[in-house]
């Protein structure tokens, strides 16, 4: 027994050590970004690099806000990302469910086609997409950014993979009880997918949050810009406003943190525990 406990203790220690090391590695660059955001530009460019945060955060922010209405930019990004995530969650889970649990003709080829669209690099799609949007008169609108990838292949793929683990017996018994397909989807499949949906929400939000080249071309007026575009404005040629970039980047992390916190509760284990009664 003693030996088992010692082994356990060693194991626990190693696990904690590993996790904490990784946390440190992940946080160092971000910490550096935060420090940079609090320093005026000249101090940032020192060597050896300064590790203690300064006090210039608000000054830098004020300068940033003056150059580009960054608060508005954040608002735009958040708005687009939230609407997109909600819409896409619905569409992706539906499609993923279909691929996971139904048999229908052409299922394989259709799925692989969807996968292929995932591979498309956006660089070359930008010009024809812009053309299309110009014809539809949708340039400089948010819907032009939200709609094209609303049924996101990543999402469909993820949902398909995750929903495969739903026991068929569960669905069958529901069918026998007379539930319609939509009810099965909504009342049985979705609730068991809580953590996957949370992961998907993060994926979708991030996808939209990060989009750069396409929104750059579609959005034309400064009051519509999203965060990546805003940051690109700060990288000129002769002057690179490091302090403002760092402030902007630090602030841009906040919505993601909020998202993580909101979704915390969904990462709960063992939802399917007790659902198999055999």
């Amino acid at each position: 027994m003693r030996e088992q406990r010692r082994k356990d203790a060693v194991w626990r220690f190693l696990t904690y050590a590993f996790v904490i090391t990784m946390v440190v590695v992940m946080m160092v660059p971000l910490y550096w970004m935060l420090v940079a955001a609090t320093l005026p530009q000249e101090q940032f460019l020192q060597f050896p690099p300064r590790l203690i945060p300064g006090t210039a955060f608000l000054d830098n922010f004020a300068a940033l806000q003056e150059r580009l209405d960054f608060v508005r930019t954040i608002r735009n990004s958040v708005l687009i990302a939230v609407v997109y995530t909600l819409l896409s969650l619905v569409l992706c889970s539906m499609a993923g469910f279909a691929f996971a649990k139904y048999e229908f003709k052409f299922k394989e080829p259709i799925f692989y086609t969807i996968l292929a669209t995932l591979v498309l690099p956006i660089q070359l799609l930008v010009i024809p997409l812009f053309l299309l949007m110009a014809q539809l008169d949708w340039t400089n609108t948010f819907r032009a950014i939200i709609l094209p990838w609303a049924a996101n292949p990543i999402g469909i793929f993820l949902m398909r993979q995750n929903m495969k683990s739903i026991p068929d017996a569960l669905l069958e018994s529901a069918r026998m009880d007379g539930a319609t397909e939509f009810q099965i989807f909504y009342r049985i499949a979705l609730p068991t997918m809580r953590s996957s949906l949370a992961a998907l929400a993060i994926i979708l939000f991030l996808f939209q949050w990060d989009l750069f080249l396409y929104p750059l071309v579609i959005l034309e007026t400064a009051d519509m810009y999203t965060i990546p575009i805003g940051l690109a404005q700060l990288t000129g040629f002769q002057r690179i406003y490091y302090d403002q970039i760092m402030v902007a980047a630090t602030l841009a992390i906040v919505p993601m943190v909020v998202l993580f916190l909101v979704l915390q509760k969904q990462f709960v284990s063992g939802i399917l525990a007790g659902s198999l009664k055999e």
């Binding site: 626990r12 996790v19 990784m22 590695v25 992940m26 660059p29 971000l30 550096w32 970004m33 060597f47 499609a95 279909a98 691929f99 139904y102 229908f104 259709i110 692989y112 996968l115 292929a116 669209t117 995932l118 591979v119 498309l120 660089q123 070359l124 799609l125 024809p128 997409l129 053309l131 299309l132 609303a150 049924a151 990543i154 469909i156 993979q161 995750n162 495969k164 683990s165 397909e181 939509f182 068991t192 953590s195 996957s196 949370a198 992961a199 993060i202 991030l206 949050w209 990060d210 990546p228 940051l231 690109a232 760092m246 992390i253 993601m256 990462f267 284990s269 399917l272 525990a273 007790g274």
Partner: protein
């Protein structure tokens, strides 16, 4: 104009009735003459209907939104790229290709580009181009190292964070996943600073341990490693979240059953966790592979594709051809080849991954 079973005997309409009778007779006669033809058409139509497969309505409804959005938005760019790949781009188009004037509605499709047909010329060109093969090599090299590394780390972290004894799960989870939210410009600037050969923090630390200054950005081999480090740093947490979610859908009972059977930690992992995690693992592997194949931003900002083209990736090459050299036709051909290769690769991965 359909035949009516009702006749109307009111005065004034008698005339109309007579006219209608005349028309009806005439058409009936001509129809009789055309009957064989109509019959043939009808039989053909019925055969066609019988031949097309019927999708169960529900499944069709479920995936309809994707196809609707795809066909409206993405189909045109995709086909246009394919079309463009057989041409050489000469310049912007003048005048219109096509116009429709319906009075109130006026639609003009402008001629988008002046093109010169080259058939498979672009494809031949890319096969012979050194830089193309170099970028393929770079991308594959980075892929082969980065993807297993990142997934290994992500899996280990997910398992660690799923362990029952671990405290502060939420904090760790958020901290590790946070890099994914860092803006590209900002974190590449930070990485450029950290990895600078003479003034960077990393070399400063390594020097303290006695390791000489590593040419992170100026040597081909090391530059690739820098990219690998940056990409791994950024995306490990992301994949960890996905794997964690996958882990959490494994029913607890399976573990309990295994314990009853006397399984130890490793056996539980091998016989319960891994098989149950397979679909999600496959997802993470395929997604990461595709993502790394498509790598563009990090090399573009951090190394610019150098030194000596050692970190230029395929998509970066495509971007250069399209946006710097204005070789849209050639860039389109590159895109087509790229999509084909990576799609095939992904399909193979999925098949090998043991799809039932």
């Amino acid at each position: 104009m359909a035949t009516s079973d009702e006749t109307d005997d009111r005065i004034g309409q008698g005339y109309r009735r007579r006219v209608r009778m005349k028309i009806r007779t005439a058409t009936r006669q001509s129809r009789r003459a055309m009957r064989p033809v109509w019959d043939r058409v009808r039989f053909a139509r019925q055969d066609l209907t019988a031949a097309t497969p019927t999708l169960p309505r529900v499944a069709y409804l479920f995936i309809a939104p994707f196809f609707l959005l795809f066909s409206v938005f993405l189909a045109f760019p995709v086909f246009y790229t394919l079309y463009l790949s057989f041409f050489e781009y000469q310049g912007v188009g003048q005048g219109s290709l096509f116009w429709i004037d319906l009075g109130p509605v006026y639609i003009e499709i402008p001629q988008i580009a002046q093109l010169n047909f080259v058939g498979l010329g672009n494809y031949a060109r890319l096969l012979g181009n050194d830089l193309f093969w170099q970028s393929m090599f770079n991308t594959s090299y980075i892929l082969v190292i980065q993807v297993p590394l990142m997934i290994g780390l992500a899996l280990a972290l997910a398992l660690a964070l799923n362990a029952s004894f671990l405290r502060l799960k939420g904090v760790f989870r958020t901290a590790i996943a946070l890099p994914v939210s860092a803006n590209l410009v900002a974190y590449s600037t930070v990485f450029l600073l950290l990895f600078n050969e003479q003034l960077g923090f990393l070399n400063y630390v390594l020097a303290g341990v006695g390791i000489g200054p590593v040419p992170w950005l100026t040597d081909g081999f090391w530059a690739r490693n820098t990219i690998i480090a940056a990409v791994t740093w950024r995306w490990t947490g992301y994949n960890m979240i996905i794997l964690l979610a996958g882990l959490q859908t494994i029913p607890q009972q399976l573990y309990e059953a295994a314990e009853i059977d006397g399984a130890n930690r490793w056996e539980k992992f091998r016989y319960v966790t891994l098989p149950q995690l397979k679909p999600v693992m496959l997802f993470v592997v395929v997604l990461s592979t595709i993502g790394t194949f498509k790598l563009f931003a990090e090399p573009y900002v951090i190394t610019g594709g150098g030194p000596t083209n050692s970190t230029i990736t395929i998509v970066q090459y495509i971007y250069r051809q399209a946006f710097v050299n204005f070789n849209l036709g050639y860039a389109s051909a590159l895109t087509v080849v790229f999509v084909a290769v990576v799609s095939v690769f992904s399909v193979v991965q999925i098949k090998i991954g043991g799809e039932d």
